[in-house]
């Protein structure tokens, strides 16, 4: 896990879409929101959840693994960058490969877009737009220690399981604290990924 990263806590999400509005304000892709905000139980509850790029470390992010032109680069700080515009051929391999459904394809420009952790901001020490504005801290940006300081008793996981396949992520998901203890590690329960069929 990166030093400072995103922590997603679906239980706090109120579905207001401040993250979506703020993502559009990002200078690197102004007008395009890279966040998926889903209402999870339509017709039953108001439950909602943001999906941001999880900046996978598995060992290289699936989107980058399958990119035929090596357009998706990972910076040394672990941020999986958006496809380089001069290399991207709009093939949509990354769209299919991403287990979280994050990359989007602009079919008019034939270019891939995805969250780059507001690299223009985070590389200068600012919070990414979504985490800065999120009214509930459902999207939190910081270190694990900062998260635990703000939320005594919280726990986080950076392993997401899709069936047989585990994906280790650079961003993390806040999970209910378990008797195993607080923190990120092998004993921490993995987070189920994807939607139940």
């Amino acid at each position: 896990m990166m030093n400072r990263t995103l922590f997603i806590d679906p239980s706090r999400c109120i579905g207001c879409q401040a993250c979506v509005a703020a993502c559009r304000e990002c200078d690197s892709h102004r007008g395009k929101s890279m966040i998926h905000l889903d209402y999870l139980e339509e017709g039953a509850t108001t439950a909602s959840m943001p999906t941001v790029c999880m900046h996978c470390e598995d060992p290289v992010a699936p989107c980058a693994q399958v990119c035929p032109t090596d357009a998706i680069l990972v910076t040394p700080d672990g941020v999986v960058q958006e496809a380089l515009k001069e290399r991207c051929i709009g093939c949509a391999n990354c769209v299919h490969a991403c287990p979280f459904g994050v990359p989007k394809l602009d079919v008019d420009e034939m270019l891939m877009y995805k969250c780059n952790l507001c690299y223009d901001r985070t590389s200068e020490g600012l919070d990414p737009m979504c985490a800065a504005v999120c009214p509930t801290g459902s999207i939190f940006y910081g270190t694990l220690e900062e998260l635990l300081g703000a939320r005594p008793g919280a726990a986080a996981s950076d392993i997401v399981v899709f069936g047989e396949q585990e994906v280790r992520t650079g961003a993390a998901v806040v999970v209910p604290a378990t008797p195993v203890g607080v923190g990120v590690g092998a004993e921490q329960a993995a987070v189920p990924g994807g939607y139940a069929p």
Partner: protein
Amino acid sequence: MTNRPIVPPGVGDFREEGAEPAIGWETPAPAGSRLVPTHCCYCGVQCGMYLKVDPAGRVFGMEPRDHEINRMKLCPKGVTAYQQVNHPDRLLYPLIRDRRDAPFRRASWDEALDRVASEITRIQGAYGRDAFAVYSGSSLATEVTYLMGKFARVALRTKNIDYNGRLCMVSAAAANKKAFGIDRAANPWSDMLDTQVILVAGSNVAECFPVMSNYVWAARDRGAKLVVIDPRETPLARTADLFVPVRPGTDSALFNGVLHVIDREGWLDERFIADRTVGWDDVRRVVAAYDPARAAEICGIEPRLVEDLARMWGTADRAMAFHARGIEHQIQGVENALSIINLVLATGQIGAPGKGYGTITGQGNGQGGREHGQKTDQLPGQRDIEDPEARAFISRYWGIDESDLPHKGASAVELVHMMGSDVRGLLGICNNPLVSMPNAHRISRCYDSLEFHVQLDFFLSETAARADVVLPSAVWAEDGGTTTNAEGKVVLRHTAAEPPGEAKRDWWIVGQIAERLGIGEKFRYDEIDDIFEELRWATEGGNADYRGITYERLEREGAISWPCPSEDHPGTPRLFEERFSWPDGRARFNVVEWQQPHEPVDDEYPLRLTTGRTVAHFLSGNQTRRISALVEQAPRPWVEVHPTLGFENGDPVRVVTRRGEVTYPALVTEAIRPDTVFVPYHWAGAASANLLTVDALHQLSKIPEYKVCACRIERGEAATPAPPPPLAPGQTVDPTAARAAADRRPPSAPQGRGTGQG
């Protein structure tokens, strides 16, 4: 286009076709841009934010700001608020129509102001001074709200001035005055971090005050329990430790029942009752009749929930209660608030860290706007206009004869209902009653019967669109001034830009009218700062004492809670630590007997209709229905119905009340009581929820009963279109607004449409 790749649903859609702001994107930030600190223009939280301003003085973006209220957090309205500033729908010059049925034409300021002044003179000459009324609002800076009160009393000398907080805060205000002798939230929200139980009654906090959610979450991180009382399972209620889904219009029965159990179990704070309150015995006798079975029967819930709520509150060392319009928008709104206050007082949960109570103000300046005299029964500093001492003080301060200072006039809805008889002319500012007032057909008829109507606004609202003269004003970012948030914190806005075209700041416009009425010398200000200086001295010694607050201090300190009687006073974040504001220092219990809503259900109208907000829009929508990102999130109104009522999601469902009928797409959801339906009220025209609502008013506060009336629902043909917002001559409909007008679908959830497709 050839060889389009196949992409899974949801990943090829930016939902951004219209999210392009009407002003376009400006990126990257031009060299020499600066950040202007200010606060949001929308709700009572008053989040701090920066506006990005380019070297030419043009606002082109926002940046989160680490202010003590919100610590950078913003909701989707706050993020996009800046898009109003250079919006193509802005009014750029005065508009006049020569006859009721004639279209608007462009006019000069001189022509428009002369027309306003001559009509004021004519109408007051023919029908008396009180025949010309002022209807104001609480999204204005405190300085302007003070000015509107002074303008009505000193320049027009009319008693008929009131404000749109009458549709919002008056029930809570009246209850607070009756119980505590003062009208302000008792605690800063940071007290929540130190509490064990948070009770939220009748407030969809997550959608109406999103950033307040973070205080609630932070409290829960530290072990606090959350109880939510609401007919709908709102986003906050969904995760609450205890959710009490009461029937609309029954709140006071619930709280009487809770107090009954607390008394029965001996969870009272006897010492607090003895030392700091008056009137417990009478309340005790009344709540004795509200055993859990009876309370639960009235509220339509399990008796267990009354017991559980009583146990949770009664056994906590520290607890805090919050409420908003859900319990206040009723003909028992004051009593509902008092029934919660009784609970707070009986358990001594007030006046200490983690112990407290507060109402959550709806508008940005819902607190400041109800303190300084635009309320018809009030003079600056939360003074009573019928109090001889207050009248003498303010008359002297304004340099007028006390006998010339009008007395109390009509309250907002009554004032509109008097149009055509006792009210013949109107100056309206900062409101849109054709969308926001109940029983809208009647409101339209009232406005149509005015002989003259001038409206100030920065966008052509539905109400401005039917005025005789429209004066183009500044948006919040184009002026300074202060607001007072839901916690009683006074904060400072900064001017980020000049008004566009010929638009002017509110206080300049009011001053110019006063000049033409021959009383300009009392309304000459060089900048809004001058009005604050006048205002703060006018509040000296009043309940809401601002005397010690200055712009310099606000710059330095960020926020100051009133009362603040001197410049070396730190302000008062927490009230009632030592005493309450009654002369004897004691709080008052008030007996509350639950009563039926104005319009009980019957065979013909068997369901209860309740109305409210959605997170993407604000009040009558005049500001937010023009912001493309917000329109995409929530393009049109809908009706929420429980699955047991027999409709499929998206079915056109006609909602019928004794006032009107509207067909909405159904959002079928289990997150609402089966005997209740919900419609959001931000939209206009034939799709307006207020065509359905009842205009019954609380006897004392005069708040309308928006939150409960009787209705029936039936299968309709097609959802009623929600018209795009009105435009001035020469303006064109924004493409997103046009698409929204043709939309017939319900949202994915009450918070709007998800961003995925398919």
